[in-house]
């Protein structure tokens, strides 16, 4: 595919954005796997895409690392980075919280959107970062998702959305809730336009994000073991849910109940995405791609 004209200035700026938010591993040389308690050397863990090489536990991946793991050799350009968060409820505790998450992650908001190349195809990506305020969706996340989808329609590109979210950011109140309607409406436009839309669920995929653009993909694939459902864990416990199956609200539960296409280990994610993209669109002049 011939690179789109806007795609010229990608490399450096994109890499800078992506690197900003690489989540640090704990200090020291090693980490203890929370699932199997294996001692994992941080270097090894990073090489293994933050998957435990003993039990296959998938650590939560930050947005920047995720993008790097998916696009061809850093080929990513962020879009709409200039959108800034607004304290829509004028809640005096909002801005201190925001500042805290910004300081913690080096990110401005919970999602990075942009155009990347995957196997030579230009694809619109949206990647939530659970480390930023639990990947909650407020006005900026909603607007970035919608702009990304609208951009995809205008440029006839497939869309891949990575979900990692506890739901709507409740401190954005009803305008936050409306991001569900807003992003779902944009999905309707995607489908009307025949744009391929792939959702990748990662840990956690919950509540208002799952119950909007996170459930509306043509294809929905999922990393193993993740938590996915309409409520956050805490709430489910309060509700005293009874007769809970062992894998309740895990990826395997969602697969068994028909809600996801496949569970795909992190290392197979990019090859799987390439297959799905190939199904959706011809790639006649692949050799011309940058």
């Amino acid at each position: 595919m011939t690179p789109a004209p806007w795609f010229g200035r990608r490399a450096k700026a994109a890499r800078k954005t992506a690197r900003q938010s690489v989540d640090a591993l704990p200090d020291g040389l090693w980490t203890k796997c929370p699932q199997c308690s294996e001692i994992l050397f941080n270097k090894e863990l990073l090489k293994n895409m933050r998957v435990c090489n003993k039990c296959g536990y998938h650590y939560i991946l930050g947005a920047a690392e995720r993008i790097e793991s998916i696009v061809d050799d850093g080929a990513f350009e962020e879009m709409d980075a200039n959108l800034a968060t607004v304290n829509v409820l004028e809640f005096d505790e909002y801005e201190p919280k925001l500042a805290k998450w910004r300081a913690k992650t080096g990110m401005e908001e919970a999602i990075i959107t942009g155009v990347g190349e995957i196997d030579g195809r230009s694809v619109v990506l949206g990647v939530l970062d659970f480390h930023f305020w639990a990947g909650t969706m407020g006005g900026v996340v909603g607007e970035r998702v919608v702009r990304a989808m609208e951009f995809a329609i205008q440029n006839d590109m497939p869309v891949i959305m990575f979900i990692a979210s506890g739901g709507i950011r409740v401190t954005e109140g009803l305008p936050g809730l409306m991001q569900m309607a807003k992003t779902s409406a944009a999905c309707a436009k995607l489908h009307e336009a025949g744009i391929p839309y792939i959702v990748v669920l990662t840990d956690n995929s919950l509540a208002g994000v799952l119950a909007s653009y996170g459930s509306l993909g043509d294809f929905t694939i999922s990393e193993p073991g993740l938590l996915t459902g309409l409520t956050a864990d805490r709430v489910a416990k309060q509700a005293q849910v009874v007769n809970v199956p062992d894998n309740f609200r895990r990826a395997e539960f969602a697969l068994q109940n028909g809600h996801i296409d496949r569970i795909v280990p992190r290392k197979d994610l990019k090859p799987t995405l390439i297959k799905l993209l190939a199904f959706c669109r011809e790639q006649e002049d692949n050799e011309d791609a940058a």
Binding site: K182, A185, S212
Partner: protein, 323 residues
């Protein structure tokens, strides 16, 4: 008089006057004495008291009003507002969900499709209606009915009254998230007018799953929120008891919804709340429905859809920095 659990704290002075008035009426009926003036005076006092009290209600008071055990529920309004309501059941997939009702109806001479959440009045009905918390099959039934309305070019009216969507094991198994998402996506492009009214509790995803419409109205004393105030308090302050503060911060009231620009019209309730005069409440609501439906029926469908998309497209706050 209703038992005291049916009276909110701030209603108690009103209830006392109500009781006095009722007592005098009872006595005069027995004795034949004419105390019309006394009664009128007391009623005027009471109405002034109600006005005073209601002028100062907090967002939390409104939350309690919206959940008032005597508050009219969906089918109470349906009976008064529509002629010839014919309920239609089932999602064609798994079940009929009594927490979500719907069917064809006539609004005066207008043929409409109605959909709404239904709470239960007594313990038995509450169980049957799952407290107004719909399951995936409820949302899918709602969508099925809306698609029928689209096929036959009939407007859709949705009444929202739910604490939240059901999140028990069965609901998660059958994909409650996907059901809500799908509804919003389909409603965004449904080729017929859609009027949404929050009549009681507009609870989060449970509400928005039937609330993407051309017009979104709220009854005066209803609430609409991303999470119950108690849940907000639990998340933000780790203290569910601070629901009062949560309600305030979230601006859960109908004025809040207007102020945030997300609600098109607040429908006035009778003095003291819809439960004090169900019939008047229903007539107010009917008038509002007629007005909005008739306006929307004049709009060509492409324009309608374009306006609807832009309406929800424009919701939420952000700023654009120069970089």
């Amino acid at each position: 008089m209703p038992p005291s659990w049916n009276i909110l704290d701030f209603e108690k002075p009103i209830a006392e006057l109500d009781e006095q008035i009722a007592e005098i009426k009872r006595l005069t009926a027995e004795s034949g004495e004419d105390r019309t003036e006394d009664i009128l005076a007391l009623e005027t006092d009471r109405d002034r008291l109600i006005e005073q009290i209601f002028a100062n209600l907090s967002a939390w008071d409104k939350t309690l009003l919206a959940r008032h055990p005597k508050r009219p529920y969906t089918l109470d309004y349906v009976r008064t507002i529509f002629d010839d309501y014919t309920e239609l059941h089932g999602d064609r997939l798994f079940a009929d969900d009594p927490a979500m009702v719907g069917g064809i109806a006539t609004l005066d001479h207008r043929q409409v499709m109605f959909v709404g959440q239904q709470k239960g009045r007594d313990i038995k009905e509450r169980g049957y209606r799952n407290f107004g918390s719909a399951k995936p099959e409820g949302y899918r039934k709602a969508l099925r009915l809306m698609k029928l309305a689209e096929k036959f070019h009939r407007p859709v009216i949705c009444f929202v009254d739910t604490p939240a969507a059901d999140v028990n094991v069965g609901a998660e198994q059958r994909g409650i998230s996907g059901a809500i998402a799908r509804n919003m996506m389909e409603m965004a492009t449904l080729k017929t007018p859609v009027v949404v009214v929050v009549i009681g509790e507009g609870g989060s995803g449970g509400a928005i799953g039937i609330a993407l419409g051309d017009r979104v109205l709220m009854l005066e004393h209803s609430i609409y929120a991303v999470i119950p105030p108690e849940g907000f308090a639990a998340i933000v302050w780790k203290d569910a008891a601070r629901g009062k503060d949560g309600a305030e911060v979230m601006k859960v009231t109908s004025e809040g919804g207007r102020e945030l620009g997300l609600v098109d019209e607040v429908v006035k309730e009778p003095l003291g709340g819809a439960h004090r005069n169900m019939d008047l409440a229903a007539r107010n609501l009917k008038a509002a429905l007629v007005k909005h439906i008739d306006e929307l029926l004049e709009v060509p469908i492409p324009e309608l859809l374009d306006t609807r998309y832009k309406k929800f497209r424009g919701m939420g706050a952000y700023s654009e920095k120069m970089i």
